[in-house]
């Protein structure tokens, strides 16, 4: 079975995003970029399924700028077999990303598509569900466990208040949550090896997908800044404050 793993190049999760002074967006110039953490988990899960003999080939795909090649090389260094970059310098919304991925799914016919539940930049949490809708496939979102057996995959999902398990007919779409696994670091030899793995470059127009945004961003602002409050001297003073708040 082939697994398709879409990955996104985003601001590194350790970097504090700064809103541009003109309110047009977040300043990404000279900011460390990395693979979206949830997508790293998706790559790891695909590799584990290959190591178990469930998957035979892992194809990483990214829709993004030329530099997203680095993100794809990271996926290759972790263990993906080949990569596809759908290159565009424009920002592509989840719906258009899902349409591009649908076209790639039709070409590659993967048994599973595993991707992060959301990207930590736009926080949309949409692409996996949209891809599932467009391809008419079942979806196992927010996965903390993925077990393939025969023609189905059992996905344990992180839901409000606990876990639920659904059984999906393959082919299916799975989106990852944090508890699914702990992604490996690429070893130096594997990083070197990844440089010679195949990476194809395409454009959204190759798939006939229109990427003009449907949402217009009117402005981007920082959230209201919290002011530091007071310090209390001891536990008695803290208890008094908790009583004022009505929680004690």
């Amino acid at each position: 079975m082939k697994i398709l793993v879409p990955v996104k190049r985003v601001i590194d999760y350790n970097v504090k995003p700064r809103v541009k002074a003109d309110g047009t967006g977040v300043d990404l110039a000279n900011v460390k970029m990395s693979m979206n953490p949830f997508d790293e988990i998706a790559v790891e899960e695909a590799i584990r399924l290959k190591e178990k003999g469930v998957a035979t080939e892992i194809v990483a795909v990214s829709v993004g700028p030329a530099k997203a090649q680095e993100t794809l090389r990271t996926a290759l260094a972790m263990g993906a077999d080949r990569a596809i970059l759908v290159q565009t310098e424009d920002e592509v919304e989840p719906l258009a990303v899902a349409k591009i991925l649908k076209a790639i799914v039709e070409e590659e016919t993967p048994g599973l598509v595993i991707l992060g539940k959301q990207a930590i930049d736009d926080d949309s949490n949409q692409v996996g569900q949209m891809l599932a809708a467009l391809t008419g496939r079942p979806q196992g979102t927010f996965a903390s466990k993925v077990e393939v057996s025969g023609e189905t995959v059992a996905v344990t999902r992180e839901v409000d208040g606990g876990l639920e398990t659904v059984s999906l007919k393959l082919p299916a779409i799975v989106t990852t949550d944090l508890r699914l696994n702990e992604p490996r670091y690429a070893s130096l030899p594997n990083i070197m090896k990844a440089k010679s793995k195949p990476l194809a470059t395409k454009a959204p127009s190759d798939f006939g997908v229109e990427t003009a945004p449907r949402l217009k961003t009117l402005k981007v602002v920082e959230p209201p800044v919290r002011q530091a409050g007071i310090k209390v001297a001891d536990v008695d003073a803290l208890v008094a404050k908790l009583k004022e708040l009505g929680v004690a």
């Binding site: 639920e164 508890r179 959230p223 536990v235 929680v247």
Partner: protein, 310 residues
Amino acid sequence: MANVLVWVEHDNASVKDATLAAVTAAAALGDVTALVAGSGCDAAASAAAQIAGVSKVLKADDAAYANALAENVAPLISGLMAGYDAFVAPATSNGKNIAPRVAALLDVMQISDILSVEGPKTFTRPTYAGNAIATVESSDAKLVITVRGTAFAKAAATGGSASVEAAAGTGDAGLSSFVGAEIAKSERPELTSAKIIVSGGRALKDGDTFKATIFPLADKLGAAVGASRAAVDAGFVPNDYQVGQTGKIVAPEVYIAVGISGAIQHLAGMKDSKTIIAINKDEDAPIFQVADIGLVGDLFTVVPELVGKL
């Protein structure tokens, strides 16, 4: 006036609170119809009919909707949307699972996790884990929206008297089935809906110390328990305790951070809490820059003393 279809989060018997905030957001857009999709969901439909601001309830009662499987529910909603201008769902795990599937079926770019309604097609929403608030305007003919529950007042659960109509179902898509659920049996409230949260950080040393220190305080206050990523990475508690950019985003009435330094990732997950209380021995810890009430001290003496005096 726009016609708005709202996804009702329910357990077939009663309506979950998250629905009430979604109704408030939907009412700002137009006339609200509440959709109760379930199996044996008469009681939930009756409860939805009493929500203030709901003018009609559509009840889709079918075994295929018993567990809100997106594969079965999304075609139902996208079919109903012929008569509506907007679909609004609470940003619960069901809402987040179903709404984008509906949006794609309608060829609509969804607006996730809105914080406010600024106009008929204009909304604010958090990006970058709440570090940037974007105002976005949709150019789609119809809207698909999820609503951050902590950002909207809850509509009154009673006082309304909407009519209940049956909606024709679309049956089982035959793609997926529900196997089972393990809903945490904890006596403590759920993290994302708790009014009070007590969170612990790496300073708690190890799992046993974490439990022995944080749990009694949480139980005394009737609070949920959270943790920083550092505490989760160190294995003190499971990942589902994690509050932060890659964990859960919370906004309780009171958030008590114990032995948490206040790394960016953590602050991103809790800085919208109404009152933040920090207990830390390092008076320069960044957590104090966002805390309303701070106590500088050794948590291993402060927390037990606090538990004793509550």
